[in-house]
Structure formats: C-alpha cells, structure tokens
C-alpha cells in the first residue's frame, strides 16, 4: 500500500479516537454510578456507600483526566488533518461541536473540581448536585457527539450552497430518528461499561476475600444494573440495525456478509469473506433469518454488496467481523449478568467461584464491544466521510505533506502509549489497593486496609 498523507491521517484519526473513546465511555457510566452512590449515602447514611464512592472517584479522576486531554486533540484534529471536511461541513458540524463544548465541558470541569477538592468546602447537598452535574455533563457531551456523528452517517436538514453544506432545518438535524436510536445505544453502552467494571472489581475482591461489605455492594449493584440494561441495549441495537438497513444498505450488506441479492435472504452467522472473489468461505448460514432480521418478513428481498460499484463499497471484512465480535460480547455479558444477578439475589453467588472468575475477567467485554461497534459504524461508512456527500479522500487537508502527517502520527502514538500505559498501571494499583486504602500503595504494603481514607475527617464521624 502506498503511504500517503491521506492514509496516515486516517490511521491517526482511527488511533486517537479509538484511544479516546475508551475513557469517556467508562467515565459516562461511572459518573452515573457515582451519583447513585452519593444519593444512597445521603439517603441511608451507610458508610459503605461513602467508602465505595471515594474509591471509584479516585479511579474516575485518572480516567477522566486522560479523557479530557485526549479529547482536546479531537477538537483540533478536524482542522489540522481534515480541513476540507471542516470547511465544507463547518456550518453544520462546527455549531454542533461548539454546543458540546459550551454545554458539557464547563459543567464537567467546574463540578469535577468540586468533586475532587470540595468535599470539605461545600454542603453535602451541593456535593451531590455537583456529582449529578458531572454525570449530566458527560451525558450532554455524548448527545452532541452522537448528533454530529449521526449527521455524518445520514446527512439531513442541509442545503448545498456553492459547494458548502449549510444548515436548512436544525430540528431535523437534532431530533431525527437516527440520533434517537444511536444516542441511547451509546449511552447504554457506557452505563454497561461502568456496571461491568464495578461488578468485575467486586468479584475480584470477593475472590480475594477482601473488603467484604464494599465488594458485595459493587458486585450486586453492577450485576443488577447490567441485567436490567442489557435487554434494552439489545433492543436499541436492533433499532440501530434497522436504520442501517434502510439508510445505508451497502453497510448493511457488508455487515451481513451478503454478496448477492437474496429472496428470501439467509443470515450468515460466521464465514471467511473473500472480497476478491466476492464470496464467503466456510460459511455457517441460516436460511430465511436474514429477511426476518432485515425486514421482519419471511420472504423479503435483501440486497447484496455487488449491487454497488466497488468504489462505493466499504472494506467489508472489518465491519463484518467487528459486528460479530460486538454481538458476541453483548450476548456473553447478558448471560453473565442474568446468571450472576439470579445467584446474587439467592445469596448463592459467592459459592460459585468459576462464575466469579468469569465476571472478574469480563471487564474487557464492554470496551471491546464499544470499539468494535464504532469500527462497524465508521469503517462501514467508508469510502464516505459524510455519507453520500463527501468522500474521505476529498476531506483530507490538501496541503498536508506525508512527512508532516507522519511526524504527528508518531508523536501521538508515542505520547498516547506512554500516558495510556501509565494510566492503566495507576488504575490497576488503585484497584489492587482497594477501597479505604490510601492512594496507590505498593501491592506488598502492610497498609492496604488499616490507614484511613485520605486526611479527611469523615471516617472519624461516620465509622462505627
């Protein structure tokens, strides 16, 4: 493959945004969880909720910090690497992204400062409000990002004036049905990420026979939340599939691994696709199910990839496999959450160590699902940046030299690997030290549990 500024810019965007999304998806869910914990603590006065809150706040702080600094890069990258996109669709995408900054970032930044440093400075109710404000900020941020991305997937409410895409119908852009299935899909994914990370941590402590009270709160809250949310998430996933089927048929055909029109259509469960020969090898296929999934019908005709010219097809192997990995993760999480919740409610979960190990090791699943879900959506949209309107090859900065693009790609890769590696290490240390311990004690330290939380006075007044 020939190395061009375009290719390097695509690699850079894919790398920086994939790295970035890991942290917000975790913190959106965690912020909601922290709000629930703080509210429960205020309502019941149980110190366990407070200890669990302080513990997850420390982890939230590390993840949030990485999310903030890698997010700033995104706000600049559209201008540096994709100046044609920034210019052509700026009148629509610019205002959307600016709403995100205005509505979400200040809310997050201000009240996050109070969360970290304000416990001794503000009244308890205001502290709870601050927690809720951080959660609201992360949610608003997700909304505007999803509006923006949905517009790139299915552009609507625009007019073409002198080659620029200008807004024609803002309500249509903000409230169309694509936004309102994709935004909940992403939000639920974030909540599930938070829920599974919390449950996995709880399972870990139960296995280690440590922090019993806190571990039980984490395990049960995480599992119940996941068990309730997962069926809703599958339903919204289906709705997202519906919009792709109706509005982006070539992406749908790529995901389904369907090369030729079929009536009624089968559903390819697994296969090795061969884009050169335009066929699948070793496929496992269920007849008629493809029509049922695509159109809720037993005999509908479903289109295949060969209906579209090669120049308009996405690189189908990536969305095909990414989609299957995402669904696989979702189903595995559903199984774990339901069985785990059932046993937890029966008070029998702690005897099933194999299941606890599975829950512990399930923490990567929501992250993998989110990343592969985004790969499906974004790679499946190619070769377009704005679907049907602006090709990726035409969106890149025209004056960008290959060497310049290489410099930035190397800088970002090195820097992100560096801070990401340390961030994960620090989060691991916090998790290992457990709730109630001081910040980042070495694993072998004696102080794991004995030292009170920080220098703050609450332990003395609340602990029995």
């Amino acid at each position: 493959m020939h190395i061009t500024a375009l290719l390097l810019s695509r690699l850079q965007f894919a790398f920086t945004i994939s790295f970035h999304i890991i942290f917000p998806s975790f913190t959106i869910g965690l912020a909601a969880f922290l709000t629930i914990l703080e509210a429960l603590h205020l309502a019941t006065g149980r110190p366990t909720y407070r200890v669990v809150f302080e513990f997850w706040l420390k982890i939230f702080a590390v993840a949030f910090g990485i999310g903030v600094v890698t997010g700033i890069v995104m706000a600049f990258q559209f201008g540096t690497n994709w100046s044609e996109l920034a210019r052509v669709s700026g009148p629509i995408q610019g205002p959307l992204i600016s709403y995100e900054t205005f509505m979400a970032f200040f809310l997050e930044a201000t009240f996050f400062g109070i969360l970290l440093f304000g416990r001794t400075r503000v009244a308890p109710w205001l502290y709870l409000v601050s927690t809720a404000m951080v959660a609201l900020g992360t949610t608003l941020s997700a909304y505007w990002i999803m509006v923006n991305n949905s517009w790139m997937q299915v552009p609507t409410g625009y007019a073409l004036v002198h080659g620029d895409l200008v807004p024609d119908d803002w309500p249509q852009i903000l409230f169309n049905s694509v936004v309102w299935v994709r935004f909940p899909h992403m939000l639920l994914a974030s909540y599930l990420t938070g829920a599974f990370c919390v449950a996995a941590t709880g399972a870990w402590y139960v296995l280690r026979r440590e922090f019993n009270a806190e571990a039980r709160v984490m395990l049960r809250m995480g599992l119940i939340l996941a068990a309730v949310l997962l069926p809703i998430q599958l339903f919204f996933g289906h709705l997202v599939g519906d919009y792709v089927h109706d509005r982006q048929p070539v992406k749908f055909a790529a995901i389904e691994g369907r090369w030729h029109d079929e009536q009624p259509a089968g559903e390819v469960l697994l296969a090795i696709p061969d884009p050169v020969a335009e066929t699948n090898h070793y496929q496992i296929k269920i007849p008629v199910l493809g029509s049922v999934i695509g159109s809720l019908s037993l005999h509908s005709k479903e289109v295949g990839l060969t209906d579209f010219p090669r120049a308009d097809r996405p690189p189908m192997v990536i969305p095909f496999f990414a989609f299957r990995i995402m669904v696989g993760c979702g189903l595995a999480m559903l199984l774990l959450a339901w069985v785990g919740t059932y046993l937890s409610l029966k008070e029998r979960l702690e005897r099933h160590r194999a299941l606890l190990y599975s829950i512990f090791w399930s923490f990567p699943l929501p992250f993998v699902a989110i990343l592969t879900g985004w790969f499906t959506a974004e790679v499946g949209r190619q070769p377009w940046t704005i679907y049907g309107l602006l090709r990726t090859a035409d969106a890149v900065t025209p004056i960008l030299a290959t060497r310049t693009a290489l410099i930035s790609l190397v800088v970002y890769c090195a820097l992100y690997t560096f801070i990401g590696g340390f961030g994960v290490l620090f989060i691991y240390r916090l998790l290992r030290a457990g709730p109630g311990g001081r910040l980042a004690l070495p694993p072998s330290s004696e102080h794991g549990r004995a030292v009170p939380l920080g220098d703050e006075p609450f332990i003395a007044t609340e602990s029995p």
Binding site: V62, I114, P167, D168, I399, L439
Partner: protein, 328 residues
Amino acid sequence: MITFWVAVLALSILLYVLLDGFDLGVGILYGFTRDEGKRRDMINAIAPFWDGNETWLVVAGVVLWGAFPIIYATLFSAFYIPLVLMLAGLILRGVAFEFRNKALHLRWVWDAGFAGGSLLATFMQGLMVGALVAGLPLSHGNYAGGEFGWLSTFSVLCGVGLCLGYSLLGACWLVRKCDGQVQARAYRLIPALSVIALAVLAAVFIFALREHLQVLGRWLERPYLFLFPLLGIAAGIGLILSVHRRRELAPFCLVAATFAAAFCTFAISFWPYMIPFSITIDAAAAPHASLAFMFWGEGLFVLPLMLIYTAISCRVFHGKVRSQSDSY
C-alpha cells in the same frame, strides 16, 4: 450576529490567555523549583482550576469552527506542527496533575512532563501568534508557506515573550493563592520577570520595524491604537508599586490588564481582518442559519452559565491554599 460571535471569540481567547496563562505560568515556574513542599503548594494553587481554564481554548477552537469555518480550516492546517506540539505539551502537563501523586519511583518523569509540557505549549502559542502577526502566505484559500513556514526569528521571539508573560501571570497568581516561602519567592520574581519580558517586547518591536511588517502601517493609520500600550505601561508601573507594597490581589489584576491591553492592540490593529490582511471577518463568517442557531442556544443561555460556573469555581476555592487538607 457576526459581531456577536467575533466578540465571543475575542472574549474566549482573552479569558483563555488570562486563565490558562496563569496555570501554564505556574507550570513553567514549577520547573525552576526543587523543593517538594513548594511544588505541592504550587500544584494545589492551580489544581481545581486548570481543567476549566483549558476549556476556554476548546471554546475558542470550536467557536472558530462553528462561526468562522474557513479560518478554522486554514489556520489549523497551516499551523499543523506547532498545534501538534502544543497539544502534546498540554496532554503531558494535564495528566501530570493526577499521575505525579500516583507514581512511586518515577515522579520526576511527571514533574518534568508538567513543567516541560507547560513550557512547550506556551512557547508554541506565542510562536503561532507571532507567525500570524508576521503574516501567513495564502494561495487559493490554502496556506502556501510550506511545512516550516511558521518558523522565523520573529515568531520564536514571540514564543519566548509569551513564556515570560505567562510566568509573570503565574507568579502573580502564586502571590494571591499561596503564603510563606512560595509567596515570598513569587514576589521576588515579579520585578525580574517584568524587566526581561519588557526587553523581549522591545526586541519584538524593533524586529517588526526592521522587517517592515505590514501591521506597523496600521499604527500610523490608527494613532488611537497607542492608547493601549500606554494603558499597558501604566499597569506595569502599578504592578511594580503593588509588589513593593506587598499587595496580594492587585499584581494579578494589573498583569491581566497588561495582557488585555496587548490583546486589544492586536485585535484593533487587524480589524476587520481575521487572518491579517487576507481574510476578513465577513468573508469568513458561517451562514446566518449557523450563527443564529448558535446564538439562540449557547450564546444567549449557555455562555452566561459558563461564566457563572467559572465564578462558582473561584468562589468555592477562594482563599489561600491549605497545604494539608486539599492536597492531591
């Protein structure tokens, strides 16, 4: 509508320079401090604020994209490498706040990242302003200055000047937020920093004269512009007096006033151009439908809220840094 968004853009850039200016400045001074206790006080003096401060940079960036997309596309692609380096600096210093206390053996890495990142980001910002003042060669709406066209003696001088300016802001912030040794040291630094900053400013000016920069013509056309440098000089004299009398709030306000005066000088010199002498504000503005959409929501309602949040944060965290209870 256009005027409103120009004003918001100007306000966000000015607020960014003043607010992130002080915490970047503290970051630069941090690099010249060895004592752990002093370092801790310095970090704590800015820790609750830096995230909000930095957000004003994002505000300026996205207002540019939403309201003046051509400028966003042209400027950001022209300053590709300086922006990447500035962002790298901001990333390093941003994570250092959380990371330095979690590191067991490698704290020096994050200390170096914090000071070095602050310095790098500041230098690149000054350099870009300098390159913009010196003039960006454009052809057909795209930057035509080449990969390293932004690098010149003039732009480097501007970068150095901004590092000094931010350090000055940072020192004044420390005077206000800290006491004891940190405050005493900051008081001692202010006069020295002011003198060096003034020298660099003079060098920049002489250089501009020698290169016959186009912006100088503007000064002859618009003599009222000299009002702002005069205001700046008055603020500078006030600064020395207030430091002499050991005032705590006044130095910061006076340095801020100097920055504001410099900012107004630039803004009015270039009016009505956004990229000096090639793209005007009117030519760069997004269609009315975009500007109005932004105005009726974020402009009218959210912007006042943002200013209120900033005020809340200052109110909650008012007073001196308490070394023990609020530390990371």
